[in-house]
Symmetry: C2
Subunit: 205 residues, 2 copies
Amino acid sequence: MPRAERERQMLDAAVRVFGERGYRAASMDEIAELAGVSKPLVYLYLNSKEELFTACIRREAQALVAAVRAGVRTDVAADRQLWDGLTAFFAHTAEHPDGWAVLHSQARSGGEPFVAEVGVARDEIVAFVTALIAEAAGEAHQDPVRAEREVAGLAQAVVGAAEALAGWANTDPSVSAREAATTMMNFAWSGLGNLMAGRRWSVPS
Amino acid sequence: MPRAERERQMLDAAVRVFGERGYRAASMDEIAELAGVSKPLVYLYLNSKEELFTACIRREAQALVAAVRAGVRTDVAADRQLWDGLTAFFAHTAEHPDGWAVLHSQARSGGEPFVAEVGVARDEIVAFVTALIAEAAGEAHQDPVRAEREVAGLAQAVVGAAEALAGWANTDPSVSAREAATTMMNFAWSGLGNLMAGRRWSVPS
């Protein structure tokens, strides 16, 4: 078996074990067994538990960011872009619950170097959402100075809301990615004020 | 000095050190020194580093939940209640940055028992927001079955957005609690769709 393929199997097993048990409780024995290799081989390939966990975070973060980017076309309206990005985000987190657990919860349980590793990917998603909102705000000819600061806050709010909804959706298998994305759009685009008055957001054709 | 007062000083020092360094990197020597007491006295009062950290989480969580509850009167419109609750929330997190760091970031760095401890307080805030949205949705005579599930998701989104904004506001001292709450209301109540069209939320009189 080629080295890259073998390494992929080890990372698959590691993401599953780290995602379920957290950094400290995860055992290298269990990871090796699940990957179907010997423990020395895991150390030979990935050096240490710390480097293995870092490799898991990096791989899962890159996959998530790539999935969101791939879901969005930039030649459509801002709400359509947001809807497409959210649908891609929730579909990915639902399909990779252990990867999401590693990024959202378990990375922090490991402490500072891992938190910083996740922070890089999160910053990339925040920047992506910031650009999206800024573009829409620019179209609306708002005061640019005030807008820039508010846009930064709004992007944080969007990302925080989506993270919380992904965690919630993953605890209830009956919540589909589409339902999570719809709830998120009704919240983020229409707002509670409209929603309470029965004015919902709907997918642009 | 009475025991309760001495214990409060130890907890103040512990929240500051845990908030800045995280659970593992925090040293009991530094906590004792900052509290102006001997290390054996800290162990006599709080038993162990684990129990001390748990006591910090519990105290800070109760203070945050109490501040939000105290800020909200239930005899006003839903958006006014949300505004009051958010203003109280951001004022509290801004005044207690170390307490917020303990709850939002550092508790997770300590692992499972601490995560569960924070989860209890977070569930209480989610329940509070859920009741608020459900009441507003009830007034709007929406389909109760569909509404109940969506309300649960919306409450998660509101809390996640507020958490992200509190973290963001605490990294930039020029962002006031009022500005964070205004950004949050513009987002949560008006929605990005209205905001981009220049229709902002304003504080009800």
